[in-house]
């Protein structure tokens, strides 16, 4: 298990390099190399998840170790699907999303790294987690987190692009390569697409969690820190969804609006990560029975 985990980590690290090479050296063949490396990492990750499932006799999403491995798996899955969609359905071959692939791979590698440091012994499920809702609830959340992580990467890339091309001399160039830009998805649009994929899952995850809590503890909303923070992350993305409607009625410059939205995404994903694994740091978490045991 340990060896497999390390191997997966190395393959994902190789995928980071592959995607960076692909981004710098834009050959079509390179695109498939990068895709292949990440896919093989994903296959190894799938084997990890499945072996854990059969060994533990419960869905492998209950403790820290299992969550990290599963989160890595779902990030890779969502990105691979996304890339396949861009190739075969949207048909943007020359797109620059390779850099997003690299960032996603960094996140995946980080998750596997955290899993390596977590306690990997198989634990029995506490009574409250012995429910069919576990699978639905957790899969919804991890799919949504994966999509949202992509919006985070896209927002970073967008902001860096804006910062680089903010010089006047670049304007002419941008106009010149206008056709190119139209073919490519600009990164703020990409971030929006990622959020629109992830946000419904975030909502469904929140609702299934609430229904599950009703079944297990008798209250669908108990102002538990985990519940509050999942609400906060939902509210932040809700703000992101509603801001474009509000911004035209304000004095904010049109060119600044995507920057503001990207900044919100930049804040939102760390909140999601904090909800996922940082809650034990809160002073109020001592009373909660919802947080991964440290």
């Amino acid at each position: 298990m340990d060896f497999m985990l390390k191997l997966t980590l190395y393959v994902y690290c190789a995928a980071i390099v592959a995607y960076i090479v692909r981004e710098v050296w834009r050959a079509k063949s390179m695109r498939w190399v990068a895709f292949g490396v990440l896919s093989s990492g994903f296959i190894l990750n799938t084997i990890l998840v499945l072996t854990r499932w059969s060994e533990a006799h419960h869905a492998p999403m209950s403790d820290k170790f299992e969550s990290f491995v599963f989160f890595a798996w779902s990030i890779a899955l969502v990105y691979l699907i996304f890339e396949l969609v861009t190739i075969f359905i949207v048909k943007v071959h020359e797109s620059r999303i390779g850099i997003i692939g690299a960032l996603q791979c960094v996140l995946v590698a980080w998750m596997i790294c955290s899993a390596l440091q977590a306690d990997s012994t198989i634990k029995e499920l506490p009574p409250a987690l012995q429910s069919n809702w576990l699978v639905t609830h957790v899969i919804c959340y991890f799919l949504s987190y994966s999509a949202l992580s992509m919006s985070f990467s896209a927002a970073i890339v967008y902001l860096i692009h804006r910062w680089i091309f903010s010089g006047k001399q670049k304007v002419a160039e941008v106009v010149e390569s206008g056709i190119q830009l139209k073919k490519d998805y600009s990164f703020d649009k990409l971030a929006y697409i990622a959020v629109s994929i992830g946000f419904p899952f975030l909502t469904i995850g929140l609702i299934t969690g609430s229904i599950w809590a009703k079944g297990a503890w008798g209250t669908y909303w108990g102002w538990d820190p985990k519940e509050i923070w999942s609400l906060i992350s939902w509210l932040v993305y809700l703000t992101y969804m509603h801001l474009p409607l509000m911004l035209p009625k304000t004095n904010i410059k049109k060119s600044f609006r995507p920057i503001l939205l990207s900044i919100i995404l930049l804040i939102a994903f760390p909140i999601v990560l904090f909800t996922f694994m940082g809650l034990h740091k809160l002073p109020t978490s001592a009373d909660s029975d919802h947080i991964y045991a440290e």
């Binding site: 198989i122 012995q130 946000f199 008798g218 909303w221 509000m246």
Partner: protein, 624 residues
């Protein structure tokens, strides 16, 4: 809401500024942001604690400020409720304003209405619902519950019996924890045979070599050498050919055996030379008697007397006369004959006669300072200490086996403290204990007796243990090999024992239970109304009992056993509304983000974008 009514509403309020604000996205965004920020505050600031706790944590001034603006209970504060109401109104207004009978609008309408429904349902629950709890002892019943958080008694209108409460457990799991002291590094190692686990960042490693699920240490007697360091005999005692007792006697350790039923004592002594041998073999008859030390405090008088029932002693220099009234080898069995008592708790009863009358008391050899509180002690300055020599015996028949370095070995038979016979003995030869049908035989002789310890699988020996299936607690052990700068060390480690340290005292391995053991809590509940049993259900976590709007959840238990079950009692009249909202929200949001884009592409064919997108939609969905 009828379709005709909407345009009317719109017309009437179209120009009102308040209406515009109430419908605006700007208000929605502001409310959402304020809610998000207050949620953050609600988890950073401790909630629903006592004023003293806030004062201690944040200082008096800040605590007062928090209490004034209700930061101490944000989620139940007036301003948070106002925020939710405002959100509701805003949602309602904007839904009405943007209502259009178009397929593509379904998502917008459904999601916004669903959130209103959820909020309404919550308010209904808050106003008319019940949230409480009750503990029911096994076999008992309740007809009330306690509200939370103020613990007021409220009637249920029926009785709930708890017929049984069970805690189901998983068989325990164990893990190895490797610990490196100077780096303060811990690593959990799965107890799987054959894998070498190195502790990263250090040069230590641990390998599990063997594993026994239910192990015990077996001690096998062995002869270490031919030098008589620890001589031992394996003795067999038989009566009419049937073996009645057998076992090891160690000259320097456990060197006697007493058979109270047959009034017999066997001992085994080792003599250093022939002279002593003779003495020991003959002197066996005069066994050392127990003695009683009498100390009179303050007078520096110490006297030692043999313990013999009925004897009287006068103490020189005082007026005390001390009489030994009774003697027991085992105080708790003091009423049975002395010969049938084992020396477990020897005690002597003494009567002290002096100027202030008689004082009688028991004196225990193991607890010399024990004073019976119910008993009045007159002569507190008289201290008694009785001591019983280890080889003391009151037995009528005695057998003494003596051996010395030169190889001489004798067996003496003593009856009533008189030596009857002294014979030389040989291995595997039976000797009669005269006057009885008992035979004694020495089976083995180990000059240097030792024990070989080995860890083996435990077999049997578990009948009669009172535990349910799956609750059998074995005692697992692992054979681990520890690697480090001083090479490899292999050792058996049992669960629940102190950590095992590597020779350099910097690396340790601990074998202990891991993870959650409790599988489930279950209560068998029975609802009785007007003397009739209405429902019986076994509830567990994630499976509640519903009756007349009340729902009983398994929520806690008696931490000191399984005497009572803790139930959460709720009544949620608004649950249906909330759940409708939940389902609508799910459907609506999936429609907006997954169905609508494809639906639009289908409808869009051959038409200009502007015809199918409202201005707002184009903004919202980044369409240019």
């Amino acid at each position: 809401m009828s379709k005709a009514a909407i345009p009317q509403v719109k017309k009437v309020k179209n120009n009102s500024k308040t209406w515009e604000i109430l419908c605006s996205v700007r208000l929605a965004v502001i409310i959402i942001v304020i809610m998000a920020v207050s949620c953050v505050l609600g988890t950073v600031i401790l909630q629903q604690k006592s004023p003293e706790e806030y004062a201690a944590r944040y200082g008096a001034g800040l605590a007062k400020f928090f209490a004034a603006i209700q930061f101490t209970d944000i989620f139940h504060s007036y301003w948070f409720s106002f925020l939710l109401v405002l959100l509701c109104v805003n949602l309602g207004c904007c839904t009405v304003k943007r209502w259009r009978n178009k397929v593509l609008m379904i998502g917008f309408l459904v999601t916004h209405i669903s959130i209103i429904l959820i909020l309404i349902g919550c308010v209904v629950d808050l106003l008319t619902g019940v949230k409480g709890g009750v503990n029911i002892y096994e076999g008992k019943s309740v007809d009330y519950y306690l509200t939370r958080p103020d613990y007021k008694k409220n009637p249920l209108g029926f009785q709930v019996f708890c017929d049984d409460f069970l805690i189901e457990k998983h068989p325990p799991k164990y893990k190895l924890i490797a610990y490196v002291k100077d780096k303060d590094k811990q690593k959990a190692v799965p107890a799987k045979v054959g894998k070498r686990n190195s502790v990263s960042g250090t040069n230590y490693a641990v390998t599990v070599k063997d594993f026994i699920e239910d192990a015990e240490i077996q001690q096998e007697p062995i002869n270490v050498s031919d030098v008589p360091n620890n001589p031992a005999l394996y003795i067999q005692l038989s009566e009419k050919g049937n073996v009645t007792a057998e076992g090891w006697l160690l000259a320097k350790d456990r060197n006697w055996y007493s058979d109270t039923q047959r009034d017999l004592k066997i001992d085994y002594v080792w003599a250093d030379n022939a002279e002593k041998h003779e003495k020991l073999a003959n002197a066996a008859g005069k066994s050392t008697k127990p003695k009683l030390d009498i100390t009179i405090e303050g007078k520096n008088i110490v006297k030692s007397v043999p313990v013999e029932k009925g004897k009287k002693f006068s103490i020189d220099g005082t007026d005390f006369i001390i009489e030994i009234k009774n003697f027991a080898l085992d105080y708790s069995k003091r009423l049975v004959p002395l010969s049938e008592q084992e020396p477990n708790n020897p005690a002597v009863m003494v009567e002290i006669s002096g100027p202030q009358g008689k004082d009688s008391r028991w004196s225990f050899s193991k607890y010399p300072d024990y004073q019976d509180k119910a008993h009045q002690v007159i002569y507190k300055d008289v201290k008694l200490l009785c001591s019983v020599p280890e080889n003391f015996s009151d037995a009528k028949h005695r057998v003494r086996i003596v051996q010395n370095k030169s190889g001489k070995k004798t067996i003496s038979y003593i009856k009533n403290e008189e030596v009857i016979s002294i014979n030389d003995w040989e291995l595997n030869k039976s000797y009669n204990v005269a006057d009885s049908e008992l035979e004694i035989r020495v089976i083995k002789y180990f000059p240097s007796h030792g024990l070989k310890k080995s860890v083996v699988k435990r077999v049997g020996g578990h009948e009669g243990h009172n535990h349910g299936p799956g609750e059998h607690a074995g005692n697992p052990a692992v054979l681990i090999e520890m690697e480090g700068p001083r090479g490899k060390v292999a050792e058996w480690v049992f669960a629940h024992t102190p950590p095992h340290w590597y020779p350099d005292n910097n690396f340790a391995v601990l074998y202990e239970k891991s993870g959650m053991e409790i599988k489930d809590y279950k209560s068998i509940l029975r609802v009785v109304e007007n003397g009739k049993t209405m429902v019986t259900k076994t509830i567990e976590v994630n499976n509640a009992l519903k009756y007349k709007g009340f729902v009983f959840y398994q929520s806690s238990y008696d931490p000191e056993g399984e005497r009572y079950t803790g139930l959460q009692v709720t009544k949620n009249p608004g649950l249906l509304v909330v759940y409708t909202g939940f389902i609508m929200l799910c459907i609506g949001i999936v429609f907006i983000f997954y169905v609508k884009p494809f639906l639009r592409r289908k409808l869009k064919k051959g038409k200009k974008i502007e015809e199918y997108y409202s201005e707002e939609e184009m903004l919202a969905e980044h369409i240019e």
